[in-house]
């Protein structure tokens, strides 16, 4: 008996100027199943999905080899338009939203509803007038279907990333005639509870007979929600199985090609933390960040501490670092080693020795057209005048030093690339994320704030990142503040964890506090 496949990609190979990123990959998906596509950063998952969706990046770099069949029929998809016509929808790894548009406009992008007008009888469909009311109604329905509580007429710019992710999903749900939905790391920017909500929605979609391809680095999600799995390693399929035939440990091992130990091995702790030596102090701190408002936070973070900030989405944990860095309007006092920050000036935190890794992938400010090495040293060069020769008033880049440092960071964080001169824009999503981290670490700040440090990073690299953070803390005494939605991550590294709820700190707990205590704190306020 032959199984009926909705999607059958056969012998797919893809080269990016001489660099083979996919080799004879086969991917088969049945109608109504959730199919997990798993692999390390740079394994080729997004590339495979871009091929399926006919993205221009594939076809402007020489296309691909192999065949794609939908419902047993061979198809040639060379533009997203065609993919959409075949009933394929996709939530890309990078946001495909227009910040200046409203939520409705973004949900209806390319599929606007319009009414015939006098001119449209003469000049065709293009001149039909938009039916804003109907569009808003549809948008409201899609938003309420996924349980996102947000006004459909507000602008997307400035919304927290979690909201943006759900807006993208609302857009796909609003489409009719979809047969296959691709979700490229939809849960990376979500907290655990949000991710769960999303996965439940995916189950409902799948139960209507729509096939789903699901990419994630959180293996528990795969085990709990997927029906079958394909694992990629270095551009090749290593296994294809039903989910019931494989365990999380096996998945992890197959994916990174070696055994995984426990999450973090901490170096020996010789620090002494003192309550009188405060690195960062917040008093009556308010931040006006839409969707992540902070309403009066008091915190004292000790010098040399690793301090965690957790909490559910929308409760304000992201507002704290963004407010300190001056990215959103903030009020109250912020003191760094006793010195007051001028909150109205954007660069003032930076100038006072705080470095920040933003949770916002799109806004992280990587120079996509520049090399990895330049991106890594960029901030240190601009703000601290490092990596430069000084010839009188002229400053020249110290190429050798830059190269050395870049090679070190590439090795430390396991950035998968062809070399330090590769353009950042051509890295996989997770590897771009590592470059961001490397850049902040290069600043060698006294206080480092990392928001979602391991977002989009595979489990192998996650360990490297967390261990490196611990090492910086232990060896150089760097004060580190980690804002994260992953409790496990916070527990493995932090000395104390503040739980933010309703814009306030509802509790400060020890990393080994029982789940019940933390859960209670999260729900408070």
């Amino acid at each position: 008996m032959s199984t009926h496949f909705l999607l059958n990609m056969k012998n797919i190979s893809k080269e990016y100027d001489g660099n083979q990123v996919l080799k004879n990959v086969n991917l088969q998906v049945k109608p109504g199943e959730i199919h997990a596509l798993i692999g390390e950063n740079g394994a080729g998952k997004s590339t495979l999905m871009n091929i399926l969706f006919g993205m221009p990046v594939i076809h402007s770099t020489g296309g691909f080899e192999g065949t794609v069949e939908i419902n047993g029929e061979q198809v040639f998809i060379d533009s997203p338009q065609k993919a959409i016509d075949y009933g394929i929808g996709m939530v890309h790894q990078e946001f495909m939203l227009i910040p200046g548009f409203t939520v409705t406009e973004n949900i209806k992008i390319g599929r606007e509803i319009s009414k015939p007008s006098l001119l449209s009888h003469l000049f065709g469909k293009g001149m039909e007038t938009l039916d804003f009311e109907q569009m808003a109604r549809d948008a409201r329905k899609a938003l309420s279907d996924i349980g996102l509580n947000i006004e459909e007429y507000i602008q997307v710019a400035g919304l927290p990333v979690g909201y943006m992710q759900f807006i993208e999903i609302a857009r796909e749900i609003d489409k009719t005639g979809i047969k296959l939905l691709v979700f490229d790391e939809p849960t990376a920017v979500l907290t655990e509870s949000e991710a769960e909500r999303l996965l439940e929605i995916m189950k409902v979609i799948a139960s209507k007979g729509i096939a789903i391809i699901f990419i994630t680095h959180r293996l528990s999600e795969v085990k709990n929600y997927a029906d079958s799995i394909t694992i990629l390693r270095d551009g090749e399929v290593v296994t294809h199985k039903d989910i019931k035939d494989i365990s999380i440990i096996e998945i992890a091992e197959l994916m990174i090609g070696r055994k995984v130990e426990k999450l973090v091995d901490l170096a020996e702790d010789t620090r002494t933390l003192s309550d009188s030596d405060i690195a960062l102090s917040l008093k009556n701190f308010h931040v006006d960040m839409p969707g992540e408002r902070v309403r009066g936070v008091d915190l004292d973070i000790r010098k040399g501490e690793i301090f965690g900030i957790g909490g559910l989405a929308g409760q304000g944990k992201l507002g704290i670092p963004n407010g300190i860095m001056g990215l959103y309007k903030a009020e109250g006092t912020v003191e760094i080693f006793g010195k007051k920050l001028d909150l109205s000036k954007l660069g003032s935190a930076l100038a006072n020795g705080i470095a920040f890794v933003s949770e916002d992938r799109r806004g992280v400010g990587l120079l996509l057209d520049e090399s990895i090495e330049l991106n890594i040293v960029f901030s240190a060069m601009q703000i601290k005048d490092e990596f430069l020769y000084h010839l009188g008033p002229v400053k020249l880049l110290n190429q050798k030093q830059v190269r050395q440092h870049a090679l070190k960071m590439i090795d430390l964080l396991d950035i998968r690339c062809t070399g330090p001169t590769q353009k950042v824009g051509s890295l996989s999503g997770g590897n771009q994320q590592k470059v961001c981290l490397a850049r902040a670490l290069t600043m060698n700040p006294e206080i480092l704030i990392v928001s979602e440090p391991t977002r989009g990073i595979d489990i192998g690299a996650k360990k490297l990142v967390l261990e490196y953070l611990a090492k910086l803390n232990r060896e150089q005494g760097m004060t580190i503040i980690i804002v994260s939605s992953e409790l496990v991550e916070l527990r493995s590294l932090c000395d104390r964890i503040a739980i933010v709820s309703g814009g306030k700190v509802s509790a400060i707990v020890k990393p080994d506090a029982p789940d019940a205590e933390i859960g209670l704190a999260m729900a408070a306020g």
């Binding site: 997203p80 959409i84 495909m96 992008i109 710019a157 860095m325 660069g347």
Partner: protein, 491 residues
């Protein structure tokens, strides 16, 4: 109230270009010692002449293609048509409409080709447009200097150089196309409008009878309004007389505008407040408008204002064309096409991933802009009255773009308001600069230099700003997720 202060500072910073030029204009008018009536009359003429061209630049900005230096090519399409129409001997509005009829397909073709080229040079449209303008000028010269008369036999001593090959340097439009559009009386336009309304009502009726959509009541209202309007202007002699003139006294124009404004606000107020009972509707706004309109009306009695109002006469039909283009520019935003162009303008990647045909939309934007520029050039030529065969089009792009920029527009953002303000400021400067130069330095030439300097200067600065913004902007360590203010603050 530091908040208020911040807002005021922000408003000033946002409009710094406009404020700068307003000050410059005031200073230049003062220095030139020109009478205000003269400046005003000249300005209204120039507005009618150039307004359409500047407004033709807006759609490509919307589609993210920047300032369309390629409008030169639209102007060329217009000039080709003008030459032949003059050669064939058509005059007046017939000649003008023939020009439109003939140049439009040429402009569509040119727009298509330019759009295709721009698609091959994404990100460098402005440079491409500029170079293309020069290239097209070369071909144009070849055509007019050699092919006409040389290959296509044209025999007309008034148009052709005495050797029989090539077109003369200037073609006088005085007794054929000059003022052909400007002199169309208002009544003709109104008649045409009512006729179109009536036909529209008929079309809608047919559609209604076939598909049963829309409401019969509104269709009947439309038809009745058309008939009534037609009857009114035809059978009330004073009205007919008033409307039969082609130039409208500025005073009358202002009065009519004020009446229309008040009538609209009152109607809106009654409709929203009393009929629909819209809870979001705020009553302060219309009241403010009405108060303003009344104040404006009283202002017309001030002596210097009245002097100007009684001196200036505007060509109504040309101005109506400009108003129509403004309407078109803002209405297209409410159509599917406009929304899709906006999407493309914001992000080609997102537009493409959403299944839009990015290249096609960009070509359409170019076609629209080229056709509009072509019509704009026709308006320009009919008003100026002499057609300088080899010079009329050369600086169309630069001057239109400079005017738009002076109005506060940028490479990514431009709207009707900015275009209108820009034309006013830029041309005021053009009018008074030579005289100011003469008064101040005893040298009119200096003023001329100055205005050319302003035109190119403002383009150069704006392009440099654009380049600076696009390359420097991402180089911010912790890019804010919202707004440009933060970025600017840091740099």
């Amino acid at each position: 109230m530091s908040n208020l202060k911040d807002k005021a500072i922000k408003a000033i910073l946002d409009n710094k270009v406009v404020i700068l030029f307003v000050l410059l204009c005031i200073a230049a008018i003062y220095a030139s010692k020109s009478p205000l009536t003269f400046v005003a009359a000249e300005l209204f003429t120039r507005f009618g002449r150039n307004g359409f061209l500047v407004l033709s630049l807006l759609i490509p900005v919307l589609a993210g293609m920047g300032l369309n230096f390629g409008i030169v090519i639209g102007a060329i399409a217009a000039q080709i048509a003008v030459f032949w129409v003059v050669y064939w001997g058509f005059t007046g509005i017939t000649g003008f409409l023939l020009c439109v009829l003939m140049s439009t397909p040429i402009a569509i073709l040119f727009g298509l080709l330019v759009g295709r080229l721009f698609n091959k040079m994404k990100g460098a449209e402005m440079i491409a447009g500029l170079v293309l303008g020069y290239f097209a000028d070369g071909l144009y010269q070849l055509f007019f200097l050699y092919i006409i008369g040389g290959i296509i036999p044209v025999d007309n001593p008034r148009l052709i150089i005495s050797t029989g090959i090539g077109v003369k340097n200037t073609i006088d439009l005085a007794d054929n196309l000059k003022y052909s559009l400007d002199t169309v009386p208002m009544i003709a336009i109104l008649k045409i409008t009512f006729t179109i309304m009536f036909i529209a009502a008929l079309v809608k009726l047919v559609l209604y009878l076939r598909k049963k959509n829309g409401s019969l009541q509104s269709i009947i209202m439309l038809g009745a309004a058309a008939v009534l309007g037609f009857a009114l202007i035809n059978f009330i002699p004073p009205l007919t007389d008033f409307l039969s003139t082609d130039r409208l006294l500025l005073l009358d124009a202002v009065t009519i505008a004020i009446i229309i404004l008040i009538a609209y606000q009152v109607w809106d107020l009654i409709n929203k407040k009393l009929i629909k009972k819209d809870p979001h509707y705020q009553i302060t706004r219309p009241l403010l408008f009405i108060a303003l309109a009344i104040a404006l009306y009283f202002a017309t009695y001030l002596k210097p204002v009245e002097q100007i109002l009684l001196f200036v006469r505007i060509p109504v039909t040309t101005y109506l064309c400009i108003v129509a283009l403004c309407l078109f520019n803002s209405l297209i935003l409410r159509t599917r096409l406009g929304q899709n162009m906006r999407t493309v303008g914001q992000s080609q990647t997102v537009a493409n991933a959403a299944g839009l045909d990015v290249d096609r939309l960009r070509v359409i934007a170019m076609i629209i802009s080229t056709v509009l520029a072509c019509w704009g050039q026709l308006i320009y030529l009919q008003n100026i009255g002499t057609f300088s065969t080899y010079g009329a089009h050369t600086q169309v792009g630069q001057f239109a773009i400079a005017a738009l920029l002076v109005g506060g527009a940028s490479v990514q953002k431009a709207n009707n308001k900015q275009a209108i303000i820009g034309v006013i400021l830029f041309h005021t400067l053009f009018i008074v600069a030579p005289q100011a130069g003469k008064e101040l330095f005893n040298n009119a030439q200096l003023g001329e230099y100055f205005r050319v300097f302003v035109a190119y200067g403002v383009i150069a600065v704006s392009l440099a700003m654009h380049a600076w913004k696009t390359t420097v902007k991402p180089k911010i360590t912790t890019a804010p997720s919202s707004g440009e203010e933060a970025t600017v603050a840091q740099s």
